[in-house]
């Protein structure tokens, strides 16, 4: 098979008649999230809403449990949540919301709501960047009906490229098994071109933005 591909490369070289092969272009990065004076937090907020997710800003880490409880009550969702084992989530003062029943670990499909951290949040398109690890299982990002993502203000960046720089690499230097870019809740337009939320992944995506470092 490689021989067939290499025969093709030889034909290309003939056609080029000594000219060098096409070079790799310089990437074009949209100015939307990089121009001077852009407030990336404000842009992220607007783009998240446009992607049909919801967002609440809270002042500090200790406000998160109550915000999660309020969110669930408002949507008539059960008061049970599955937390990512990640310290930034598991160590929040959940006792502040005594009615919430918490468990940690991956999901097996029985959890109505998950609460997870993110690697970064991208203002360009209101995109959350999540990654798999022992502390952040991927099942939490897809199986529950409600996915609550808690981010700190300093995690918001302008572009995808800036977010990629924050991915935590494996011990041997490569990517983690999975990186998820998530922009709004799951949806489909496959029935009569009508856009509906909650096809297979979460029906609701809620961002809690903590106005300090997590």
């Amino acid at each position: 098979m490689l021989a067939g591909i290499r025969a093709g490369m030889a034909r290309q070289a003939d056609r080029r008649r000594g000219a060098p092969p096409p070079a790799k272009p310089i990437p074009v990065i949209p100015a939307r999230a990089t121009a001077p004076g852009i407030d990336v937090v404000d842009l992220f907020h607007r783009q998240v809403l446009e992607a049909k997710a919801t967002l609440e800003v809270v002042a500090s880490r200790s406000d998160v449990p109550a915000a999660v409880a309020r969110y669930l009550t408002a949507r008539n969702a059960p008061a049970q949540i599955r937390l990512a084992p990640d310290r930034r989530i598991a160590d929040l003062p959940w006792a502040n919301a005594p009615l919430l029943e918490t468990a940690t670990g991956r999901s097996h499909g029985m959890d109505a709501t998950s609460v997870t951290p993110a690697v970064a949040a991208v203002a360009e398109t209101g995109t959350l960047v999540l990654q798999s690890s022992a502390e952040t299982p991927t099942t939490l990002h897809f199986l529950p009906d409600h996915h609550v993502v808690v981010i700190g203000r300093d995690q918001i960046v302008g572009t995808y490229e800036q977010a990629l720089a924050r991915i935590v690499r494996d011990a041997d230097g490569g990517l983690p098994r999975t990186i998820n870019f998530v922009t709004g809740p799951s949806r489909s337009g496959d029935i009569g071109k009508v856009l509906l939320m909650g096809a297979h992944g979460p029906k609701h995506l809620h961002v809690i933005l903590v106005d300090e470092a997590l």
């Binding site: 070079a23 494996d170 870019f181």
Partner: protein, 472 residues
């Protein structure tokens, strides 16, 4: 296991499609929807045209270094504990998938949307070998139940109306209460979601496609809206990726260039809901994810077009914009093209992958209006390449006899300019007289095919060349 190849029946298929009321209803909805949606997305990104140049140049670069990037991709996948299977044709790809499924005695396989899966006919093959494939993309699921091929690259069930979806679910879902109201799209989607959840949780193997392969990281990328692809590749023990060779890009930054183009061109979204990068099997400490990661690297005839006048079609990222903007596709839908790829890009790919003799009418299923090229994020010159197929068809004596005679007749005159001018003068004057000053003809010799449906505009008596000479 037969893969449908009736592209040669395009004319008959098109005639049927034009009289299919429910298809026309579905096409009308799609037409109204897709053009303005894309236009709005592009208007919001001033850099879009520059991004198109960048995407085109990137793919040209990859195509000129394809062996190198594929080998680098393989090395990176293997370094992360994954496997790459080089498959020259559809048969070898199917056999490899089956082998992997059998290694864990798989009974059920979930599938994310994959055009390569359609191209190699993987579902029918697995079924014939006692393995149940479950399509999980809503559109693919609907057409799997209806035993159809996709009619659009990114909206496979575009031809199915809401009422037909309800009918399909009622027929196929055992235990569905006949009294249950499925009168709106949301109820239908809820029914599919509940039904497919069981499939996700019981599957032994998950098969997805790949929008891109990243050479230096050994990662595959899927772009979806439903989240089905992620459940497909996260829950089972094995993740198999079906990808063709031209999907490789050098690094993550290149994938970002294509990501800024693909959803905007395809669905008019700023970004699809889920973009997922997968590199190898789960890590030792991970709580979830597949234990094995396999990539099927399919050629299936593509490499034969490297270094030819058709090479540029390998830039295609399967966004579907050319279908969404094609007046022919708008009128007849995807199935008329007779295979899994349809619309303008299908008219290039089907002859390329199945042989021009099996897709003779497709290069002609175009008015060459150029809308496809004007929206293609990879700037593929589709009309130019359709003309290349027409040339090959003529050169290979594949075109129908009357057409070949006509072209030869024209060539006879074209090689003798004085005779050409004389004949043109006679024809122009003759037709002018025939029209008796009406300026149009209700019928004309040898032109019944045209005049049956519309008048033929008649020349005003003098040829263009004569008028031009009179002016200068």
């Amino acid at each position: 296991m037969t893969v449908l190849h009736d592209s040669n029946a395009f004319k008959a298929n098109a005639a049927t499609a034009l009289h299919d009321a429910s298809l026309q209803e579905a096409l009308a909805i799609a037409r109204e929807h897709s053009i303005p949606t894309r236009a709005r997305a592009i208007e919001r990104l001033p850099e879009f045209e520059r991004l198109r140049n960048s995407g085109r140049d990137l793919k040209n670069h990859v195509i000129a270094h394809l062996d190198q990037y594929l080998l680098q991709f393989e090395q990176s996948v293997v370094a992360r504990g994954g496997h790459v299977h080089w498959c020259p044709d559809a048969g070898s790809a199917r056999a490899r998938v089956l082998e992997i499924c059998r290694s864990v005695d798989a009974r059920t396989v979930t599938k994310g949307k994959s055009m390569i899966g359609e191209e190699i006919g993987i579902n029918a093959f697995l079924e014939a070998n006692g393995i149940e494939p479950i399509e999980t993309d809503l559109g693919e699921y609907i057409i799997q139940l209806r035993r159809e091929t996709p009619s659009h690259i990114i909206g496979p069930a575009l031809h199915v109306t809401q009422a037909q979806v309800e009918e399909t679910f009622r027929k196929s879902h055992d235990g569905l209460d006949p009294a249950r109201n499925l009168d709106d799209p949301a109820a239908l989607m809820a029914e599919a979601r509940a039904h497919l959840r069981e499939g996700f949780l019981k599957a032994d193997v998950g098969i997805t496609g790949a929008n891109f392969l990243i050479a230096d990281e050994g990662a595959s990328v899927i772009v979806t809206n439903e989240g089905n692809g992620d459940l497909t590749q996260t829950l089972p023990r094995i993740h198999i990726v079906l990808a063709s060779i031209e999907k490789v890009v050098p690094d993550m930054h290149d994938a970002m260039t294509l990501l800024r183009l693909l959803p905007r061109s395809g669905t008019g979204q700023e970004l699809a809901v889920y973009v997922t990068f997968s590199a190898g099997p789960r890590r030792a400490a991970d709580l979830d994810g597949p234990g094995e990661y396999h990539v099927i690297l399919l050629d299936n005839g593509r490499s034969a077009y490297l270094g030819t006048e058709f090479e540029e079609m390998l830039r295609c990222i399967r966004c579907g914009a050319c279908l969404d903007h094609c007046p022919v596709y708008h009128s007849v839908g995807g199935h008329a093209y007779g295979w899994v790829y349809s619309g303008p890009i299908g008219s290039l790919l089907n002859p390329a992958l199945n042989g021009i003799e099996n897709a003779k009418p497709l290069p002609h299923a175009s008015t060459l209006c150029g809308r496809c090229e004007s929206v293609c994020p990879m700037r593929i010159p589709i009309p130019k390449m359709l003309r290349h197929w027409r040339e090959r068809e003529f050169a290979g004596a594949i075109a129908p006899m009357p057409e070949r005679r006509l072209i030869r007749l024209w060539a006879f005159f074209a090689r003798r300019p004085w005779l050409y001018r004389l004949a043109a003068r006679l024809a122009a004057r003759g037709l002018h007289l025939l029209a008796r000053g009406q300026g149009r003809l209700k019928s004309a010799p040898f032109a019944a095919g045209w005049t049956r449906h519309r008048d033929l505009p008649a020349p005003q008596g003098r040829t263009f060349q004569e008028q031009w000479r009179a002016r200068s």
